[in-house]
């Protein structure tokens, strides 16, 4: 019997008992549907993060720290819960001394001029404008880090990095601030001057700084992490105010340094190895994004387990369906064997039925998952949908390379499940099978 005959026969036999086959396929469908949706959403989220990372640039950005700091941060990022046993290594935020920084600056491949050690602006602050009486919290304010960052903007441009422009008090606002500050469109606030105020913690007065708005950030998971981006001049002015009551010669401890490396000469892994050999640790932009990915991956694993359990139940359903089928068709198997069909062919016929069950179940699962996924993508991007502001974020992302393996795996599981019934069918004695009532 030829291959296509085998396939045709198996499919024909499968749909002889339509209800039973349908229910078995339904069970496989539930499992594969869950897994495929899960794979789709995982790919969607990762594609979005990739997209954001690529748009952001910063592929020559590097964050330098001591090995202790890195160990501690990794520990905290790995989302371990509950009290951790104390070890000196994982509980030390290693401070970088001036000596350390000099050493790091000497490393070939790292741009010494790009070194930037951000000191957070401690204290209470708000922003306001002449167009509104309201004051708004400042969540996060920093200087644009070194590196070829290309933060997506909804309007305007990034703060000028040229030497001349560094003297100007400029600011880039996060999304939605223009509207809060009384401007209808993002473009309207570009070039306007707003007020940035910081509180003097000792006499409870606020000091106001004027800043020219040069840009507005676009919505995005990654870009919104930056908060307000200040020009060097504005930052220095505010930093001097925030630290004016500190003791003389006080220097805030440096825990990490941001810099750029020459990414035309070294890959991320190479520069990290060089820094590691020098006795320090480094994170690239991908390491930082990896933290976000890990979080999603954990969720995906949990859903994947649910799908796996559903598939296991479906596999038992396949065994059951095929065993019943073998019993029902005992005489037919006897006839086939009497007429010269080999045991191997009988086995192949039932194994093919099992594979086809897996195929139909997962194919229907894929089809419906794609339909639902695409409908969801459309719904969340429609006005009022929760992803309206992220037009590039497709919640579900299906490709041949993430869907096809699932179908193949489900078919393989079905084949394993079909082995026992197929074996039973193949080893029937034709005479006894023909006598079977």
């Amino acid at each position: 019997m030829k291959f296509f005959d085998l396939l045709r026969t198996a499919n024909h036999n499968l749909f002889r008992n339509k209800v039973r086959t349908f229910l078995t396929i339904l069970a496989i469908f539930v499992g594969s549907f869950t897994i495929i949706l899960n794979v789709g959403i995982n790919a969607g989220v990762n594609a979005f993060i990739d997209d954001q990372t690529t748009a952001l640039g910063g592929d020559n950005f590097i964050m330098l720290m001591s090995k202790d700091s890195e160990a501690m941060m990794s520990e905290q990022m790995s989302a371990s819960t509950g009290p951790q046993e104390f070890t000196e290594k994982t509980n030390t935020l290693g401070v970088l001394s001036n000596k350390d920084i000099e050493k790091l600056k000497d490393i070939d491949g790292i741009d010494a001029d790009s070194f930037y050690s951000p000191t957070p602006l401690n204290g209470t602050g708000y922003v306001t404008s002449s167009k509104t009486d309201k004051k708004y919290n400042v969540s996060n304010a920093m200087i644009l880090p070194p590196g070829n960052f290309n933060i997506p903007l909804a309007a305007g441009s990034l703060v000028d990095q040229t030497e001349d422009a560094k003297q100007k008090s400029q600011i880039v606002l996060p999304p939605d601030y223009p509207q809060a500050l009384g401007y209808e469109k993002d473009e309207d606030i570009i070039g306007q001057t707003i007020t940035f105020a910081l509180k003097d913690e000792f006499d409870n007065t606020f000091k106001e700084f004027k800043a020219e708005v040069v840009g507005v950030e676009a919505n995005g998971i990654v870009s919104s992490q930056f908060g307000m981006l200040l020009s060097r001049a504005l930052y220095d002015e505010m930093y001097a105010f925030a630290t004016k009551h500190y003791p003389e010669n006080y220097e805030a401890p440096t825990y990490y340094v941001m810099a750029t490396f020459d990414n035309t000469r070294f890959s991320e892994d190479e520069i990290k190895q060089i820094i590691s050999d020098a006795g320090y640790s480094a994170w690239t932009i991908n390491d930082m994004m990896g933290v976000i990915r890990t979080f999603f991956d954990v969720i995906m694993i949990v859903f994947g387990i649910f799908g796996g359990i559903a598939l296991l139940a479906a596999a038992i359903g396949i065994v059951n369906t095929l065993l019943m089928s073998v019993e029902e068709r005992t005489r037919e198997i006897g006839l086939d064997k009497a007429l010269g069909m080999s045991s191997g062919r009988v086995f192949a016929e039932f194994a093919t039925e099992a594979i086809l069950l897996g195929f139909w179940g997962s194919a229907v699962g894929v089809a419906i998952a794609i339909l639902i996924g695409n409908a969801t993508n459309a719904a969340v991007h429609a006005p009022g949908g929760f992803l309206e502001v992220f037009p590039t974020f497709n919640l579900f992302h299906f490709t041949v390379s993430n869907v096809l393996p699932i179908i193949l795996i489900v078919m393989f599981i079905a084949l394993i499940a079909g082995t026992a019934p197929a074996w039973k069918a193949a080893h029937k004695n034709p005479i006894e099978a023909l006598r079977y009532e």
Binding site: D5, L335, R345
Partner: protein, 251 residues
């Protein structure tokens, strides 16, 4: 005449040790090509077991069955399957057909197992269906046919591969006498016109007498092997009940 089946010292035992039951005890037998042979005996005599062994559906405990001079006990499963598929045809008392398939699909089954192409399968099957006179029914569901028609479909299935030997196990057992006669006529036509060796297992003495030769089995032994004098001609006017002279005790 060339021997098509040669059986030597054939023994078949079921079970083991204390509960062992010997169904066939040292059978020796030669069947010539083109012969029509009836294997007769009461139920439990071992006649079905003998047929199963002759048809290579079962392996003997001892002894050998040679088909066209080839000892089947020395053949591997693959060769045995091919031999059955290409050289044998089977007609069973209970028909054994796939009731939900069409007549055509049922008849093509041996060719499908043989791995023949779809077009060739259909051509050969239509020819076989024509031989049994069911051409107009080839697209019918097998289940919607009468008993006689079903048995004719089974005969079509048995001859579709142009077999050398046709095994018929109580071919008329489930049929009334009129339809039974038609089926018998069909079988003997094949035997006489196409030279197909016909081996019929039956307890119907009248059917047995139509054959060239009757082999009587009792308690697993051949107790009688009778050949008719000359060739009995079966024509349209011949009734299955017509008596023929027999010659006893040829061994």
């Amino acid at each position: 005449m060339k021997p098509v089946i040669e059986v030597k010292n054939l023994v078949k035992t079921y079970g083991k040790h204390g509960s062992a039951f010997t169904a066939l005890k040292n059978i020796n037998l030669t069947i010539d090509s083109g012969e029509s042979v009836a294997i007769v005996g009461k139920s439990g005599s071992g006649k079905s077991t003998l047929m199963h062994l002759l048809a290579l559906l079962d392996r003997p405990t001892k002894g050998s069955v040679a088909i066209d001079g080839v000892d089947s006990t020395k053949l591997r499963a693959r060769k045995l399957n091919r031999l059955r598929n290409q050289s044998f045809g089977f007609v069973f008392q209970q028909f054994f057909m796939n009731p939900n398939d069409t007549v055509l699909a049922n008849v093509t089954l041996p060719l499908k197992i043989a791995g023949k192409r779809r077009k060739e399968r259909h051509e050969l099957a239509e020819k076989a269906i024509k031989t049994v006179g069911l051409s107009e029914r080839s697209k019918f569901k097998a289940n919607n046919l009468s008993g006689g028609q079903k048995q004719r479909v089974c005969i079509a299935r048995a001859i579709v591969n142009n077999p050398k030997i046709l095994f018929a196990d109580e071919p008329t057992g489930n049929l009334d006498s009129t339809t039974g006669e038609k089926v018998i006529k069909l079988l003997f036509d094949l035997n006489k016109k196409k030279g197909v060796t016909l081996i019929i297992v039956t307890h119907d003495e009248d059917l047995a007498k139509l054959c060239d030769r009757q082999i009587r089995i009792l308690d697993g032994k051949i107790v009688e092997d009778t050949k008719n004098k000359g060739m009995t001609k079966i024509n349209k006017t011949t009734k299955p009940t017509k008596k023929t002279k027999t010659q006893k005790g040829v061994k």
